[in-house]
Each structure stands twice: as C-alpha cells, then as structure tokens.
C-alpha cells in the first residue's frame, strides 16, 4: 500500500499515524510525484494533520529522547524514497516494541539511518562553507544553491546568528524555495509568478558597485595562495566536488 503525503515532515509522520490506525505496517510513504510511476499499486492519500504528527513526535521523544528523535527529521531531509522507507519502518518498530536501540550499529537499518544522517550532516556543513553571498545595491546579500539534500532549513539559524546585521536571502534552486532574513526575522519564501529568482551571478544591473571588484579579489587570493609544487588535483576535487563549482566565485 502506497501512502501518498504532501512531502512535508509532518505529512510523513501522519503516515505513521495512519499505519497504526489501519494496521497497515507494510505501507510505503511517497509523495504524489513518485507515486505516479507505480501505477498498479494501491494508494491511500494521507492528509497532513499537525495534531496527529505531534502525537507521533511526542511518543517518539518519550521512548528514545529528544535528540534521537531529531535523527528521523534529518533522515527525512535526504529527499530519498529509500531512506524515507527505512526511517518509516524504524518508527513503526519503535512504537510496536515500545523501544528502539538507536545506537545499535550492528543492526543494518540503524546503521543505514546513521549513514544517511551522516550524508545529510556533511551536506549541511558544506552549505555553511560553500554558500557565497552576492551583494546587490540595496544591501541585500543573496546566495543561490542546489544542495543534494534538503538541508537549507538546517543552516538558517547558523546564518542568522552569524550575519545578524545584514539582510540576506538563501535560495534553493532545485527545490524552488528559500529563506529571507530582514535583520530581525527569517521568513520562508517561494517564488511568485511575477518575481523570478535569478542566479545572482548573472545580475548585472542591481549589483553593488564594488561587488565585481571583491569577486575578482577573492579569485586573486584563491590563486595566489595555491602552492604550485604541491598541486594535487585529485585531493582538490574530493574536497570541492565539481557539482558545487557553478556557485563558487573562485571556481566560476
């Protein structure tokens, strides 16, 4: 049985709720898009209900603790059907047995969960590192990214603390949403039909007059700090994979 939810974490948790209500423990949580492919399986639409989702969350926290419950949120941000299913089955197991040995690395589904979280954390860390702001003439610092996983929600607080006195916008082009900080609060933004979010490196008109100069200086710095006689392209590529280059000033 395919459970079709809206793609939100709360919706995902509602799938767990539904599974217990109907005793359909073998269900597979999916979003509408993914479900179109498998035409012949049975489907059930799951509506997102904050109350139900919160009951699941509180229940999980009671059994495995708050910190460990967050593991499942991070795993969910993988944006990956297989990891979703693995997490879903573990939550079901957690409630059926009233316990879950979350650090039992010898148990394959648990190991898989941790490996998935590790990937998410690596991508989160990379977003802290690889986001490059471009300053426009109205003092807005804009960054566009295309992370492998849906990790931008995990770095918002970091950027809010760090760049507390400047306005910024971080936008995930792949998932088509982002976060805007106005100096006080962070708001989630999605594009209106009228304002299209453009790659800020392509913006010529609205740029701060000094922006190009600083981009150029950063490139100069990057080149001058390399030691030719130690060149090691393989290592360089491992640290800065090519898929990130398009938004890295020093690699454009």
């Amino acid at each position: 049985m395919d459970y079709i939810f809206d793609g939100s974490y709360l919706g995902y948790l509602c799938c767990v709720f539904e599974a217990f209500e109907r005793k359909e423990f073998d269900s597979i949580p999916k979003t509408g898009k993914a479900a179109e492919i498998t035409l012949f399986s049975e489907k059930r639409m799951i509506s997102t209900d904050t109350k139900k989702a919160n009951r699941i969350l509180t229940g999980m926290e009671k059994i495995i603790g708050k910190q460990e419950t967050i593991f499942f949120y991070h795993n969910f941000l993988s944006d990956n059907q297989i990891e979703w299913l693995n997490g879903f089955r573990l939550i079901v197991e957690l409630f059926r047995k009233k316990q879950l040995d979350i650090h039992n690395y010898g148990y394959p589904p648990i190991l898989r969960l941790h490996q998935s979280i590790k990937k998410i954390n690596r991508e989160r860390h990379r977003m802290k590192a690889f986001i490059r702001f471009v300053k426009s003439n109205d003092y807005l610092y804009t960054a566009v990214v295309e992370p492998d996983f849906n990790v931008i929600p995990l770095v918002v607080q970091f950027f809010k603390n760090r760049f507390a006195d400047q306005c910024w916008l971080i936008y995930d082009l792949r998932r088509n949403y982002g976060f805007h900080y106005d100096g006080n609060t962070v708001v989630e933004v999605s594009p209106n039909e009228s304002d299209e979010i453009r790659d800020p490196y392509q913006l010529e008109v609205d740029l701060d007059p000094q922006e190009k100069a600083y981009q150029h200086l950063w490139k100069t710095y990057f080149k001058s700090t390399t030691i030719e006689s130690r060149k090691n392209v393989k290592l360089h590529l491992r640290h800065v994979p090519k898929r990130y280059w398009k938004y890295l000033v020093e690699k454009i």
């Binding site: 040995d101 650090h103 039992n104 690395y105 010898g106 148990y107 394959p108 190991l111 860390h125 802290k128 590192a129 690889f130 986001i131 490059r132 702001f133 471009v134 300053k135 610092y141 960054a143 970091f158 603390n161 760090r162 760049f163 507390a164 006195d165 400047q166 000094q210 600083y214 150029h216 200086l217 950063w218 100069t220 710095y221 990057f222 080149k223 001058s224 700090t225 390399t226 030691i227 030719e228 006689s229 130690r230 060149k231 090691n232 392209v233 393989k234 290592l235 360089h236 491992r238 640290h239 800065v240 890295l248 000033v249 020093e250 690699k251």
Partner: protein, 417 residues
C-alpha cells in the same frame, strides 16, 4: 601600474607557507555585530594543492629586516615588495567575511623597521576589526618575536589565536639557516601569552565580565626537511613545546625549495617532503588523541618514521605481543590502538556491542579500515588461527593490497581543522 590586486597577490603568495588554517576552538559569540567563532571550524574552499582555506591568510608586509634563508621574504631575496595599510586589511576582511568566503583573518608580517613598529600595526588591525567593525569572526595573529609585552597583551585581547613560529626544530638547525635568530626569542612571547591566558582564565572563573584573552590558545610551526633533523628530534621538540607552553597545535611544514644561493638547503626543484609531513601529523595525532607516548613511536632505535606505512601500523608491527585485541571486551583505549580503527569507529563499536557481540561483517560496515585492522583484532566469529602472523608478512600483504594509498601521502592528507 601597481594596484591593490597586485598587492593582494604578493602578500597572499608570501603568506601561503604558513600552514595553520584552523578556525575552531574559540568561543566568541556574536553580540549583535557580525560573525562568530564559537562553532567548529569551517573550510570555505580548498586550494588546488588540496589545502583548506578557512581564513584570509596574508602578510601585512613582505618587507623584512631579517635574512632567514628558508624564507621567501628574506631581505636578500629579489622579490616585489608591498605593504597593506591597516584600513585595507580591515576592509578586505570585512568584505570577504560578509560574502561568506572566509571564517576570519590570519595575519602575519615581515618585520619592517622594528619588532614593536610591526607588532603595533598588527595590533591596530585587530583592534579596529573588533571595536569599530564589531567583528566576531576568527582572528589568528602571528606574534612578532621581540615585541614588547604590553603590545602582545593588548593584541591578545582582540584575537582568538596567537602563534610564534619555531621555524626550525632544533637550535643548531636554525643557526645554520638563520644566524640572526634563536629559539629563545620564540619562547619569550609564548611565555608571556601563556601566563596571561592562565591569569585571565583564573580571573574569569570569578568574574565573567573579564574580556576573553586568546581563547583558542597558541600554536607554532616548524619547517621540515630544510635542515637535517631526524623525525625523533622533530617530535621531541614538538612534545616539549606542547608541554611547556600548553600549545593547541604544532604544525609541520614540508620545506618547499625557494632559495638557489644557500647550499645548506635542498635545491630548487627538489620535491617537498609531503609523505614525511603527513607521517609527522599522524604521529602528532597519536600523541595527542590516542594516548601514545613519544618513545613508543620514535626513540633512539627508531629515529625516523616509516614512509610506507602509517605510524600506528608501524608500532603495532613492532609490538605483536599486544595483539590480537578482542573488540568485544577490550576497553576504548586499546581499541583505538588497533591499526585501521579510529576514534569514531571505536566509539561506535563500544556503543554497538552493548546490544550483542559483534561479528566481523558488522564491524566491517561500521567504517573501519578492515584490510588493516583484520590482522590485529578479534570479533565474535573470528577463526582463531595458530598465533599471530609474522609482522613482515602482514606488512607485505597490506602494502600489496593497497600500495597506492600507502605510498602516496598527499592523497590521504589529514584534514587540518
């Protein structure tokens, strides 16, 4: 025309031989201004030689009154000279930081006029960043040997880390290439800062309002392979400095030949000792995080590190009497001594074995270097063979299995965070 761009090029180029890029270990919080340095370090990019770029690493100037033959900025070297103004360094740092290019500033300098004159300018940069720009990002400052105590202490109020380069591991080696310098002039600023760090830490226990002082501690750097010291001598020097000055880090910088006139130094074109450098870092790690003492790894009988295999494996092969270690019963301190098992995996093993004895395939998946570890550990289903393999045989089969990664050091270079 000599523009700002050229200046940056010259002064970044001259600073690239300083290897420290750490931006972690501080606790400066953002108080409404910009930036923080409380989190773990972040490498914002990597150079094409694979080194991490976390800080804007520049010299204030490459004019220098000294003539140390291993240094690119030495007085007698025919290179273009440049100098930044205080304002220029501040603006560059702020603009790079606001675009999230860097975690902060690493500022060093050649010595123009005198130690105090140079130190004062460095101090003015960091003071301006903290007080006028309300900048809370990471600042690593190179203290100038011979600068007055009051200047060093004032600068310490604004920086996260301070360092003084030891340059060459032994006094005798240093005299060979830099007759005007000595180790004593490095010990002096390190002592001043160490004492002040301790005083401030003590005072902050009772009064939280006392400002931070060099919260990420001190470090030093040695140039490796310019002079003929053995690895044992190098690590002995490091060990002593760790102990005497509570250093956070010692960096080892493989000498890159840049001097065609001094016949004491390796000639231009000689490859930098990358593998050796890597082995020294691995040894440093073993001493600081794995509970090894120096004489276990290096001693009068084993003066140099094995370039083909890592120092933990080399130690294990010399000490077969400790192996195999049963990962289901041994404590953490012994599990991390197994070649191929790091601290993370050891912790996972300890956690996982609470739920049942671990078998080989389970440990393998946890993320250890199984090909190395298998000779040294026992799992629940390990077949007990007749005794321990001959060390030479193990060494050979490990090297045969993966000769590339064992010999090509830089591919397995440690991340310096």
């Amino acid at each position: 025309m000599f523009g700002f761009d050229d200046k940056l090029q010259i002064l970044a180029d001259a600073a690239k031989y300083d290897v420290s890029c750490s931006s972690s270990g501080s606790k400066r919080k953002n108080n409404g201004g910009i930036g923080d340095s409380s989190a773990s370090g972040i490498c914002h990019t990597y150079t094409e030689d694979g080194r991490c770029v976390s800080l804007l690493k520049i010299l204030m100037t490459n004019f220098c009154i000294y003539d140390c033959s291993f240094c690119v900025s030495r007085r007698s070297n025919d290179v273009q000279r440049a100098a930044f103004s205080v304002k220029e360094v501040v603006e560059l740092t702020m603009n790079f930081y606001r675009r999230n290019y860097i975690e902060g500033l690493f500022l060093s300098s050649g010595i123009f006029k005198s130690a105090d004159y140079t130190m004062e300018r460095l101090m003015l940069v960091v003071k301006k960043l903290r007080t006028e720009e309300r900048f809370n990002g990471y600042i690593h400052l190179k203290a100038i040997p011979g600068a007055s105590e009051s200047l060093l202490k004032e600068a310490g109020l604004y920086v996260d880390r301070m360092s003084v380069n030891l340059e060459i591991p032994t006094e005798a080696g240093l005299k060979l290439v830099a007759p005007e310098k000595d180790h004593q002039s490095v010990r002096e600023p390190l002592t001043i800062i160490k004492n002040e760090i301790q005083n401030v830490q003590q005072d902050r226990k009772t009064n939280k309002k006392i400002p931070l002082f060099v919260p990420a501690g001190q470090s030093t750097q040695m140039v490796i392979g310019a002079t003929p010291e053995s690895d044992f001598q190098i690590m002995e020097a490091a060990n002593t400095f760790y102990k005497d000055y509570n250093l956070k880090r010692v960096y080892y910088s493989g000498y890159i030949p840049i001097n065609a006139t001094d016949s004491n130094l390796p000639q231009i074109g000689t490859a930098p000792p990358l593998v050796r450098e890597n082995r020294l870092y691995q040894t440093d790690w073993l001493l600081r995080f794995y509970g090894f003492s120096l004489h276990e790894i290096l001693n009068s009988k084993h003066q140099d590190l094995d370039l083909e295999i890592d120092p933990k494996l080399a130690w294990a092969l010399r000490n077969p009497q400790f192996f195999p270690i049963d990962i289901n019963t041994a404590n953490y301190n012994w599990i991390i001594r197994i070649p191929g098992i790091g601290r993370q995996s050891a912790k996972k093993i300890i956690q996982a074995r609470k739920y049942g004895k671990l078998k080989e395939h389970q440990v393998q998946k946890i993320g250890i270097a199984y090909n190395r570890a298998k000779y040294f550990m026992l799992c629940q289903d390990t077949l007990i063979t007749a005794g321990f393999h001959y060390p030479e045989k193990i060494r050979k089969s490990i090297l045969e299995h993966n000769p590339q990664s064992q010999i090509k050091g830089p591919n397995s270079q440690l991340t310096l965070f």
